[in-house]
Amino acid sequence: MNAYKIPIGDAIEALIEFFVNHFSFATRAFSALTENGIRLLVDAMTFFPAWVLILVFTALAGYLSRRRGIALFTLLGLGLIWNLGLWAPTVSTLALVLIATFFAVLIGLPLGILAALSEPLNRIITPVLDFMQTMPAFVYLIPAIPFFGLGPVAAIFSTVIFSVPPAIRLTCLGIRQVPRELIEAADAFGCDRRQKLFKLQLPLAMPTIMAGINQTIMLALSMVVIAAMIGAKGLGGEVWKAIQRLQPGQGFEAGIGIVIVAIILDRIMQRVGGRPKTERV
């Protein structure tokens, strides 16, 4: 049985090597660009004292969710993080999540729309997404390094790959869930494809799409933490440090920080997306 091993690993390595040899100029350039973007975002956020940003986030949470409770939670949660001395890593984690989500949505939304409108594409994309989601997240870290080098950009790259499936899947699902008779009505009134998409399918799919983006954000957050292993800083980096130094107390403090950020992001996104217009009275 050991006589011949099917060389899947070798093939993948050869493939990655090929890409690195021929495309690394592009990926390195992208890397420089993104790294600058991340630095800019982090710099902008750390330019202000922490308490100013905490108030800004609180106001933003209150405005977006229209819930006083969520605003209060944001205020107390971020205050706790600040108090624990974790403000700087939290800001860098947030920046990574935001940038990764931005790319994931940028890729996921159009792909989801195309998959919804084209059955062949849907049939190709579905198993690929299944594969991407079942593959252990750590594995994505490995090829990211040769492309982008150790650091935040490799982290973002693997985070985008890990977090893009729900954006694609739920965009596609949302559009496909639009009732057939509504599509028929739109046709009967002489809509073309573009009008149908923008006047009917996308607005009706919006709650589902927002749920997808919410999942994408949550996955991005979890991946950004894991990506600390390849040099992403932030709260994940704190946890990673705590593991290496066997400091459970500090590990848990950083862990609590992650939980707080996750809850804030999730609650805000749920309120933004999960409110169909029809409920408005």
């Binding site: 028929e184 009967a188 002489g190 009917l200």
Partner: protein
């Protein structure tokens, strides 16, 4: 002669990838089931031909699976016909390109759906505006047209609500307004009232007839309900297994079913609702002419015909009724004219009045009921005996064919 609006010629729709096989089998006279068993192709509509005139309501009726919804969707090509032609205003719809077809739908064809198919994320007004928005009409103008349409269906004041906030009947009014806002000349209504409860349905039918009287749109109405078809349809097209089995007015179909299927379909309809005054009335055996005939002449006419009262008309228009008793008294007084004894408040009905509505009229009065047309010309009279005899006769032909 009314102008022809829609002409459907030999329209056929086969669902499946190999329609030619199914077409061949149909040609050999196979049934829908046999064709499905042999070829896995479903016959939606087979060789349907009919015409709809300008301003007419034609009801396409049949049980579920009879192909009526498919047929109406072939008219605007929501479903692409396999064979046959559809002409609207002489334009061959089946030959239109995709873009031309979209424009044609925008300009000529309004559609109303069974389950309303309203857009839940748009307000009532935005729903109504939808077709105009698609056409690129500017916002102020389309709002104005939408409001007009909403007013026509009695939804003024509801324009900022969302469909989910309205009852079923009101939702379908929005559906109706959405189609009307385009001012199309043809309305396709696919089981438009079937999802409504019976009382609301009846109201909506009345309102549709009302709208039709005002706007004179050509309407193709799909229904599985014979009572609805009879009420709405100037003509009825009856379908079974994708084919048209009979076409005609409600009365033609009911009193003279083309085959056993039609007869079975119609047998549980309450005949007295269907039989109209026209079909049970008799010719007036004698009529007094005003002002020529005085009491004496009227009396003589009654004696000769063996009746106890007589209708009086002036230049063919019904004026009233005179009884023999009154005429005799007036004659003795020496009156020259009928004015003093003329009864003007007599029961008059139109030829289309259902026979069932004649019973109470006849029970209340001891005189015959006058059947008059829109010009108040006397078309005939209904007496108790002729009403019962008329209904009995119609039921008999029904039995012998059934």
């Amino acid at each position: 002669m009314r102008t022809e609006k829609i002409r459907v010629e030999n329209l056929t729709k086969i669902f499946g990838h190999h329609p030619e096989k199914a077409l061949e089998l149909i040609g050999q006279g196979s049934t829908k089931e046999e064709i499905f068993a042999q070829t896995r192709q479903t016959v939606g509509v087979y060789d349907a031909s009919f015409t709809v005139h300008q301003g007419e309501i034609v009801v396409v009726m049949g049980l579920s699976g009879s192909g009526k919804s498919t047929l109406v969707r072939c008219l605007n090509r929501l479903i692409e016909p396999t064979a046959g032609k559809v002409y609207i205003d002489g334009q061959d719809v089946t030959a239109l390109s995709t873009n031309a077809l979209r424009q044609f739908r925008q300009q000529h064809l309004g559609m109303v759906f069974q389950n309303f198919a309203l857009f839940p994320h748009r307000t009532v007004c935005e729903n109504t505006e939808f077709g105009l928005e698609v056409q690129g009409v500017d916002p102020a103008k389309r709002r104005q047209q939408a409001m007009k349409a909403l007013e026509q269906v009695g939804l003024k004041g509801w324009e900022d609500q969302f469909p989910a906030q309205l009852s079923g009947g009101m939702q379908q009014r929005v559906g109706l307004a959405r189609a009307l806002a385009l001012d199309p000349d043809i309305m396709l209504m696919d089981e438009a009232f079937s999802a409504l409860d019976p009382l609301i349905r009846r109201d909506m039918q009345d309102e549709l007839l009302d709208l039709h009287d005002r706007l004179r749109k050509t309407i193709v109405f799909i229904s599985h309900d014979l009572d609805e078809a009879i009420k709405l349809g100037d003509r009825i097209v009856l379908m079974k297994d994708g084919a048209i089995v009979q076409e005609g007015t409600a009365e033609e179909i009911l009193t003279n079913p083309a085959n056993e299927y039609v007869a079975r379909f119609v047998e549980d309809v309450d005949m007295s609702k269907i039989i109209t005054a026209e079909s049970v009335m008799k010719r007036a055996v004698a009529v007094a002419e005003y002002p020529g005939d005085g009491p004496k002449a009227a009396l003589r006419k009654m004696e000769k015909a063996g009746i106890s009262s007589i209708f009086v008309r002036q230049e063919h228009h019904l004026k009233g009724l005179v009884t023999a008793e009154d005429a005799a008294r007036a004659a003795r007084r020496g009156d020259k004219h009928l004015d003093s004894i003329l009864r003007r408040d007599i029961a008059r009905v139109s030829p289309e009045t259902p026979a069932i509505e004649l019973f109470p009229l006849l029970a209340e009065s001891s005189f015959p009921v006058a059947v008059v047309d829109a010009d108040n010309r006397l078309r005939g009279v209904v007496i108790k005996g002729s009403l019962l005899a008329g209904i009995a006769a119609t039921l008999q032909t029904e039995d012998s064919t059934g």
